[in-house]
């Protein structure tokens, strides 16, 4: 399950799962009339999507990207500028902008990605977060476009109060479904195998004829484009952009924490992680935030996840289940391979 391969094509179980997931996500806001709950779901689904998009580059390709806040912010500002400067109009029309924003970001990112991908490991991690600070500085300084530190207002959506959150929720949910579909395709295609090879040993992969440059670029651009799409919806929902809010170092770190908790390099891991941490983060800040020890609790959770579940919930659970049903020797062998690949991934040489 960690190694994608062409043999894991569409299966009945997977199909049922996908349908059930779509069904649950679709009816969730309908069964609860609570505004705050739907609002919480909007952000949770957004985080699930962000963590899944990060997983493409950070998980499958093994490139520790810490600067996805930059792409989120680009998407958010593109939405704000599109609605306020370009006069796209209100209502549902801004949602149409998501497509050009995602595609545009993916394309614009390509040359930058080429540059960043010359570095690896820790250097890549640092450069990616540096890129984020650069984009943030630009957002502060190009005042004519972004309003700088005075902020930029996105026209308030005219949806009726009773169902105000729903359009945003469904937009986020559709993007999450798209992101998961992309992840699934990547996992089951040659691209996934190539990314896997890049993560295990990039130089050897290139030596064996894998087009490492190309697959890394594709993973980077798609990951960035999807992240920007979520940023665009967020901007319309939150109605107000400020460089420090829209381009936030903690955004990528939150997504990474969710991916780690759920299980990197698994399809559902980031979703599980987001479903747990997203609401918990917001809810705890709301209920217990009055004590500044909230940060300590967050850090403790962070460390507990890393030490107790270094592979994440999904792989750990799956292994537990396998251990219960030790029937198939094939499964046991695979288990070992999966574990090895996780540990060897951390080797810097």
């Amino acid at each position: 399950m960690t190694r994608p391969g062409p043999h894991s094509r569409i299966r009945p179980a997977g199909t049922i799962q996908a349908v059930a997931f779509v069904a649950v996500v679709a009816v969730l806001p309908l069964i609860t009339g609570q505004h705050w709950l739907v609002s919480l779901l909007v952000f949770t689904v957004m985080y699930a999507g962000l963590a899944s998009a990060w997983n493409l580059l950070g998980g499958y390709a093994g490139y520790p990207a810490l600067g996805h806040g930059a792409f989120f912010g680009v998407g958010a500002y593109a939405m704000a500028i599109g609605t306020s400067h370009l006069g796209v109009g209100g209502g549902y029309r801004p949602f149409v902008l998501i497509v050009p924003i995602a595609v545009g970001t993916a394309l614009v990112v390509l040359p930058i990605a080429r540059l960043l991908l010359r570095t690896r490991a820790a250097a890549f991690a640092v450069l990616s977060i540096t890129l984020m600070f650069m984009v943030q500085t630009l957002a502060y300084n190009i005042r004519s476009l972004t309003g700088g530190s005075s902020g930029l207002i996105v026209p308030l959506a005219p949806f009726p109060a009773a169902i105000f959150e729903r359009p945003f929720y469904y937009a986020m949910a559709a993007l999450l479904a798209l992101t998961l579909a992309v992840c699934w395709v990547v996992r089951t295609s040659k691209l996934g195998l190539a990314l896997n090879a890049v993560r295990d040993d990039e130089d050897r992969a290139r030596g064996l004829g894998v087009q490492t440059e190309l697959v890394k670029l594709v993973a980077f651009a798609v990951s960035a484009g999807l992240t920007a799409a979520f940023g665009a919806v967020w901007a319309y929902y939150i109605t107000f952009l400020y460089p420090g809010f829209a381009i936030d170092p903690l955004l990528a770190l939150g997504a990474i924490l969710m991916a780690f908790l759920g299980g990197r390099r698994t399809l559902w891991g980031p979703v599980v992680g987001a479903a747990l941490i997203g609401p918990a983060q917001q809810y705890f800040a709301y209920r217990f935030g009055a004590s500044q020890l909230y940060l300590v609790a967050y850090a403790a959770l962070f460390l507990l996840v890393i030490y107790l579940l270094p592979e994440g919930i999904v792989p750990s659970l799956a292994r537990r289940l396998r251990r219960l049903r030790r029937a198939s020797p094939a499964a046991a062998t695979h288990d070992q391979v999966a574990t090895d690949s996780i540990f060897s991934a951390g080797d810097l040489g």
Binding site: G62, R120, V126, I129, Y294, L303, G346, L348
Partner: protein
């Protein structure tokens, strides 16, 4: 021209403090292969401790270094033994996140204990300066620079002239070979971690005298430390020091001659430019493998 020289002087002086903090980070990276995302909060932690020692006990921040450096050395060893050692198998990526998480936790404790007001350590000489040939030399920054030179010199002596230093350098270059040659890599790594954190301890007090700080200041400092680390090549001590001084000077000069708005940005441009030509940084060796 006067402006340019004045800005350069100020930049070099504070660059020394950056160099001190960043060198600690480089030593830690050398022995653990983990970018210490908590180096900034360690510095802030020591700034707070110096603050308390100064305001409650009247101990001068330059004197409190004598207490803080050994304490932070022990703290660094503790972090290695309790948190990082057991990760060695699963790699540097987790270490980076562990240290980042630890940093958030420490910030939470600091916010709780000290509240989030900006603090600044103000001994009597905090505002004094000398005028040399028409240029202002702030006393605190000058002493901070001297301190940085002294500590970095000591570290360099340890690395070059002692058995421990040889073991440190060997571990940094190749842990596996060092182990084969009989170096106790875990012990050396723990000491390296201790030295790196102690460097932040030495810098904390002067940082708190030069700039107002609170827990949140760590992000500003962290972004600078990360840039320095990459430009310097992560492992190299000389590279780190050069990169830190370049950062200090570029920021100061751009801020004074163009606009402070673009000072941080201009350094990042320098960083990107260098990395296009030399992806391994100014002095670095190429690192292999993904995380």
């Amino acid at each position: 021209m006067h402006l340019f020289v004045q800005a350069t002087i100020v930049g070099i002086l504070f660059g020394g403090v950056y160099a001190l903090i960043a060198s600690g980070q480089a030593i830690i990276f050398g022995v653990t292969r983990t970018v210490n995302f908590a180096q900034a909060i360690f510095t802030i932690l020591c700034a707070y401790l110096s603050y308390t020692l100064f305001t409650d006990f009247g101990i001068d921040p330059f004197l409190s270094i004598l207490v803080l450096v050994p304490a932070m050395f022990a703290f660094g060893i503790g972090i290695y033994v309790l948190l990082l050692r057991r990760l060695s198998r699963s790699g540097a990526e987790l270490g980076l996140l562990v240290l980042y998480g630890l940093g958030i936790g420490i910030q939470g404790v600091l916010d709780f204990v000290y509240k989030t007001n900006n603090r600044v350590i103000t001994p009597g000489y905090a505002n004094n300066s000398w005028t040399v040939a028409g240029y202002q030399i702030p006393e605190v920054r000058f002493f901070a620079f001297l301190l940085a030179v002294a500590v970095l010199g000591t570290l360099q002596l340890i690395r070059q002239r002692t058995k421990l230093g040889r073991a440190l350098r060997a571990t940094t270059q190749n842990p596996v070979a060092s182990r084969l040659l009989g170096v106790d890599v875990e012990r050396i790594s723990a000491i390296g971690m201790g030295l790196g954190v102690a460097a932040a301890g030495a810098a904390g007090g002067v940082f708190g005298m030069i700039l107002p700080f609170n827990g949140n200041t760590q992000y500003d400092l962290l972004s600078k430390l990360l840039s320095i680390a990459v430009l310097g090549g992560l492992l190299s001590m000389p590279g780190t020091i050069v990169a830190a001084v370049i950062l200090g000077v570029v920021e100061s000069v751009v801020a004074a001659t163009i606009s402070p708005d673009w000072s941080a940005f201009s350094f990042l441009v320098v960083l990107f430019a260098v990395l296009i030509i030399r992806p391994q940084g100014l002095f670095g060796r190429r690192l292999r493998g993904a995380l």
